[in-house]
Point group: C2
Chain length 288, copies 2
């Protein structure tokens, strides 16, 4: 059971990471920019062959946007509450020896949300004991996921466009001209978190330029302040006063941890890489 | 007193409107795209001469971004509470026969905001009796101004980047692909207002694409929904349950009026053109 090597691929829109896994441990891996959008129509079989050249022949489990209607084959979504067993049962096989993991959808009160790829980390974190079976998990990023786990299942979740909004503002907004400084979890970030939690984001964002004009904030602090505003708004809406288990890279994890604690919650960091490997391994074991 | 003709110019970043005014009435006007950014350094005297060729020789009052550090001459800001008398007293004269009206700044609790041009409409609306001396006025647009008037003065104000955010999202965000439909004050707009008022804007915005993917909302409704989200968030943060006096063009005024009334307030429309002429006339009378 599960002792055969397999290859797990976290295949996103713009990036791809593939791991050769033996008995729950990574024995080899590759990472590149061949995300789903970089693969031409009909090109996935060849990409699979190339990954096997790099990592050795083995059956493959694919997670992420590769299973969307913009990827190789639409693997659909399983509904909440979602478990690893349901994901295993709903996998699709675009070719012999390759399975694609479905995403998860949550619909309540007429509102809907979807994830594709994050579910492996979330459920893997629980199955590996990195977070308890009833917990709030957060995956910061371009699209920040907040997932409420109950009895080890993804009970509900919501996504905020926090990272995408920061990038949009810096690149295209009038206040983007001000956002040239470094983003660090210091005073300007904390001021942003405080203002972001007030729930008047559109006005707080406009205020960035007057603050420079009127000498109320150094322009070098504008980017950190805006980051604080967005992360503060995100955390105020979702984090609550309990523990948030963070699955994030160190820099973004530090910002979210600061915001969560400033707003009265507690942050605990989880190794998101370990969570993905644990989730993929459990999914593989369910199959074999 | 004030019986001599004068020319009032609302000279913004990208547009310009000039009016020849006699005894409080417009007798001629021109409008073009020669905003401040279209005038080369050192070119303002020539532009003034051209406006006088079009409208006849007369002293000129200039309002708007022409008085900023990116315009002809920085006319500074008068602090809140701001009155027409203070604006008159603080005008600057870049050349004989031309005065530039300063802007207004508001600073409280470490936060600051500025306006430049809007103050003439706001104070003009009160001086012409279009709104009472204690009132909340709103000027929707790229940067939506909310101004609380007390005893006829601008007591405090706040600006939200509502219109700029809508344009940013439509042009540059991932959800922009969905935002192809018309924006009308119908059901999708109302749904957006309701969700925007919940105070979870970053998640509500992300939800636009899942709503299409999961068949919860027609894609044709996405733009109206996003407009509702942003205007709903703006109005929920600022409008309150009383009367809001709206200075807006008909289309945007209709959207704001819907949102304000949906959220339990009352909207009254004011003719923003008449308000500007009244404000400029009163400023001119103060000078002469």
């Amino acid at each position: 059971m599960g002792q055969q090597d397999f290859i797990a691929v976290d295949w996103g829109t713009t990036n791809r990471r593939a791991y050769r896994i033996r008995a729950g441990a990574v024995i080899d891996s590759v990472q590149d920019a061949l995300g789903v959008t970089a693969v031409p129509a009909g090109g996935f079989e060849q990409e699979v062959a190339r990954l096997r050249e790099a990592l050795g022949d083995a059956p493959m489990l694919l997670a992420g946007m590769v299973g969307s209607n913009r990827g190789w084959m639409d693997a659909g979504y399983v509904p909440t509450p979602a478990t690893l067993e349901q994901l295993s049962a709903a996998m699709v096989a675009p070719m012999e020896g390759v399975r694609i993991i479905p995403g998860v959808r949550h619909v309540a009160e007429g509102r809907g949300d979807v994830m594709r790829g994050e579910e492996v980390q979330l459920l893997g974190a629980i199955s590996a004991g990195l977070a308890p079976p009833d917990a709030l998990l957060c995956q910061p990023g371009t699209h920040c996921k907040w997932a409420w786990m109950r009895d080890g299942a993804i009970a509900r979740f919501v996504t905020a466009m926090t990272g995408e909004m920061f990038a949009l503002l810096r690149k295209h907004a009038l206040i983007g001209q001000e956002m040239t400084g470094e983003v660090m979890p210091g005073d300007a970030f904390a001021e942003g978190v405080r203002d972001g939690a007030r729930g008047d984001l559109l006005a707080s964002l406009f205020g960035v330029r007057p603050a420079s004009l009127l000498g109320l904030r150094a322009q070098a602090d504008a980017a950190a302040y805006v980051s604080g505003l967005l992360i503060g708004a995100d955390c105020a809406a979702h984090a609550g006063k309990g523990i948030v288990h963070l699955l994030a890279d160190p820099a973004l994890g530090a910002l979210y941890a600061c915001a969560i604690e400033q707003l009265g919650g507690r942050a605990e960091r989880i190794d998101s890489h370990a969570a993905f490997i644990a989730g993929a391994t459990r999914l593989w074991e369910n199959l074999t």
